[in-house]
Subunit: 484 residues, 3 copies
Amino acid sequence: MGCVQSFRALCDRPKNTNVRISLPAVCFVWQIAMIILFGVFIRYDEESDTHWIEHRKKENISSDIENDFYFRYPSFQDVHVMIFVGFGFLMTFLKRYSFGAVGFNFLIAAFGLQWALLMQGWFHSLDYTDGKIKIGVESLINADFCVAGCLIAYGAVLGKVSPVQLMVLTLFGITLFAVEEYIILSLIHARDAGGSMVIHTFGGYYGLSISWMLYRPNLDQSSNLQGSVYHSDVFAMIGTLFLWMFWPSFNSAITDHGDGQHRAAINTYLALASTVLTTVAISSLFQKHGKLDMVHIQNSTLAGGVAVGTAAEFMLMPYGSLIVGFCCGIISTLGYIYLTPFMEKHLKIQDTCGIHNLHAMPGVIGGIVGAITAAAASEEHFRGKKTLSPFLNQRLINTFDFEGAFKNMVPTKQGGHQAAGLCVAICFGIGGGIIVGCILRLPIWGDPADDNCFNDEPYWELPEDEESAPPILHYNNHMANKDV
Amino acid sequence: MGCVQSFRALCDRPKNTNVRISLPAVCFVWQIAMIILFGVFIRYDEESDTHWIEHRKKENISSDIENDFYFRYPSFQDVHVMIFVGFGFLMTFLKRYSFGAVGFNFLIAAFGLQWALLMQGWFHSLDYTDGKIKIGVESLINADFCVAGCLIAYGAVLGKVSPVQLMVLTLFGITLFAVEEYIILSLIHARDAGGSMVIHTFGGYYGLSISWMLYRPNLDQSSNLQGSVYHSDVFAMIGTLFLWMFWPSFNSAITDHGDGQHRAAINTYLALASTVLTTVAISSLFQKHGKLDMVHIQNSTLAGGVAVGTAAEFMLMPYGSLIVGFCCGIISTLGYIYLTPFMEKHLKIQDTCGIHNLHAMPGVIGGIVGAITAAAASEEHFRGKKTLSPFLNQRLINTFDFEGAFKNMVPTKQGGHQAAGLCVAICFGIGGGIIVGCILRLPIWGDPADDNCFNDEPYWELPEDEESAPPILHYNNHMANKDV
Amino acid sequence: MGCVQSFRALCDRPKNTNVRISLPAVCFVWQIAMIILFGVFIRYDEESDTHWIEHRKKENISSDIENDFYFRYPSFQDVHVMIFVGFGFLMTFLKRYSFGAVGFNFLIAAFGLQWALLMQGWFHSLDYTDGKIKIGVESLINADFCVAGCLIAYGAVLGKVSPVQLMVLTLFGITLFAVEEYIILSLIHARDAGGSMVIHTFGGYYGLSISWMLYRPNLDQSSNLQGSVYHSDVFAMIGTLFLWMFWPSFNSAITDHGDGQHRAAINTYLALASTVLTTVAISSLFQKHGKLDMVHIQNSTLAGGVAVGTAAEFMLMPYGSLIVGFCCGIISTLGYIYLTPFMEKHLKIQDTCGIHNLHAMPGVIGGIVGAITAAAASEEHFRGKKTLSPFLNQRLINTFDFEGAFKNMVPTKQGGHQAAGLCVAICFGIGGGIIVGCILRLPIWGDPADDNCFNDEPYWELPEDEESAPPILHYNNHMANKDV
């Protein structure tokens, strides 16, 4: 922590938000690096390559139906909408940071997905025969998932960082994500279809740690822009609703074909519906006169989707999903009411979008629910009626992928592995966030001064606004008339 | 009607819009009830259950392609967008009721779909072997459809009711819907793929009857908020366009696989395109200087989709769809110009969104078109060229589902059944609406006073708006300067 | 050009924007014409007709899976969203032309797709046995594509034309498009999956030529509405993002099933990601203080999708896509900074949305990239490892459709055909645009005067805006209080 203090001293210099050199430099250098790395490493997978017709003949596949584009692609597009419109518009709620919210979200997602294809490729789909990464539509979904972790982190520092810092945050975030995902899914063999642990827990703690490192003690006094206006709240609802609606696709996008994918969608749909009701209830109950707070409706209604991410493909049961959603709506909304102010005041964590309540906490809950559901899986759902079904083993393999090195796994042990996965995600999030936060404290990134936070003005050419001008004109006219 | 009058007297008490107790209570009680009922009744269907692998072996299904998630799921997501973004944003047109429009739409849809899964399950997919309802992706689509009826009704009372009243409206609306749907589709054996009768006619008259019961005689004088501003009209166009674009998915979502599903999408696409042109024509023709009215563009352009709902899967023919759309654009726009003011003045029905022109009338037209198309179905389209095709019977079975108890049906008779179905929908809508309207008149629901209608202020924490504040500040500064 | 000058003289009459007769007349006449032509010509194709069951038996198709709705339909819906929400909202950036942007886009797209079904049907899917056009879901996608050309052209004249002119522009645009498409795809046998040439190059030059014919020399001085406000820029980002996200569907929507369709989506995804980074880089580098310009973010980020349109289904390779996107982001953004002002000042082309930078130039680049990629196709990607694969021929047939009259084609020659296709697209665009521009100069269409350009007022009933009114009221209240 001594190093943290000395950093803080080092970095107290007047701020210069001119990114005219650094932003283009970062964009060009990284994009050129991507082109070179893609040239060296990335090729089409067999379903996307012209060699498909040979492969098809060799494998004796009778029709192109087996190679059909539409077995995954609709899920990809839904996830894509969540990443760009969902996350982008969710963050437009600030009165004067909508350009930054939707624009920088766009920038870092577009960079992140290229880097994610490489990082995830090296860990998951490297073809050892020729040393190339083979990508297909499923890789695109995974890259979008990977980006989601960084966009969550952006929510914590929204309005307080420069685009150059965001590019750095994304570069490291994707890297950490790919390593963490490899450890959790491949080494520990935890299952995490919707990424409660891998995406939300990691992304949440990564962002919160960075925000803690970038703490601005005088932010509250100096900025009157940290709030919404009527229209900006409606814009944010576009983001909320597209996230909410397409979350069943998010949690089912990369699940194996068959019954698990159906369950993932159904469970997510139910958990989210349940969350809406308890969010409304708590929001009304804790406000003077029972009025609803848009912040809760925009954010906490999504917590249920995060929390069923891990268990959605398991036999969570419909009522189980409703219970998870029920609890998360309550916890997340209470988080916005009590925990966010507490964290800002006592823990020095300024969390602009409240990602702790929307991603970090529900993600942890999701990890725990997943561990419990997995551990309890040998129970009735996997048996036939009354007697132990001869299909039990097959069903467990289908659901938990007990194959290869893990063919001797049992559900109870799987529960332990799930819990271990959750711990890894938290450690990577906090550890990675502190390191990256240190880097972002360097005084070279063009971040705004306190009184320029939550303001598009430093980084965007803003249009003259008609709304602010006319009143004065009217006034002057009136005055002039009166004087005459 | 005497009872109506006495109710009216009873209910004239000063309004208290504080829902701090009632709203959380309703949300919690109903959500807990849902959890219990889901625990008792709802299970995964065989495609979503781990038992799928046994089922597959038993039925000798060679591959998971037969259980593919993507045979329905894309339609589900399109319908889902219509329910939450489509209906939600369509109602944001009022200058100060956007939070209520999109937020309460969200709340009641999230509650309604849970209750719909139960109600529709009891009527349609109860498994008598174990007394459980088995749900899958198709159930989710049906639940969304069911919710649409209540959201239509919300359009009539938009801005004049409390969220608690909306929850009550939804509870009864879903219940009535499920019964009505069972009568029309299962007992009467009418076909209604896109729900012209079941959803739009029912929902429209249900909402109009409730609005009639909740008539506010002095509304016009007291509220200056019943209009739009420039930006709120653009927001509403988001809703309009997502409804318009995804309507082909709505009408084809639950049609049987095969040629009927293709026809449903094509016919809806064409009818909607035709409606846009006649809506623009009438809107321009009936306004001074030929200017277009946004209300018509936002609403009447959708009438064609409602009106082909029943007949879309039949052999309506492409030109038939265009004709239906052509007429509906004219009728719906004229409805906004002449009928809505007439109904408000003479029939005491205050219809905020004009659902009579967008849903009720086009729904009735759709029912009639369906009856005619069905009755005329033995004609050429179902014959082979010139001679009576040996496939005629098979084709009729494919299109009208003449099987089981209905295997002796003929198209003419089917036309009569369609008409009977339409009558049932109207009766349920009006009857149900009057009863529910009575309940909603009780002075316990926290509805707003006349001068608080169309205003988010009673139920939402509103952000301070920069637009209204600065002028006064500017003014004061000027004054101060002058004084000096 | 003499005729152009005399036209200009003829047309200098005071403007009357009252379209109360002409707009309804055009809408009614054209819609009735559509109904008649559809009645005479358009029927369902075999997958959408009740005769499907016979066809299925004849062709010995074992299951309805071969007729599945979901093999194309998800692509159709994505494209549909691009046409109506994507193009519509992209043009809402002007401060007072959002109604016209989204509303007229809606009108001409709804008309255009009907006319496109007919025109494309006559050229591509006329069934010579009965003289009917057979339509299915793929026809709907093609109709949407066809409409895209006209919507691009609308971008050039946005805010300067009447809705009647737009209907005329669309009628001729669709007609020209269908002829040009037939020549390029069927006669010349160029491949153009994403329509870089057929849609973007044609649409771009068509719009620019019309804009040149309708040049308004005094526009700059008279209109202060040719800019954005904060909220209108956020609305425009909705359009940008939906175009950006669904562009992989656009480029892959009508590609043959199999590996080519996968490649089309992957290449487009990568090209677009790359474009975002270079657009941001150039935008920042060329602005004072390194601030980003929303115009670039809204438009140039899409150029990569245009430029891979032709080559996306070929073996462009992932790094190839990144390079194309890299270059297009730079060229398109520089186009906005230097070329658009130059064209307005020196070439008398007023291009409201900058379609030259977003569609015309990237479209030409796309055509060239396509020609090069095709010509280079006999290289390694189409061989087996080291030796000439026996599948080479099959692969080329799969990718380039070397069948029938073109079975002796070789890749090098295909490259020449691609280049010829590009020339045809440019000629049709410029030639057609000049002729249609002449027609639109006739003083009968109700176009606005210079000082009414970029203003919704002439064609739309506008709501009173609360923003402008309250300040005066406040002011008066203060005055009154002071006087007392």
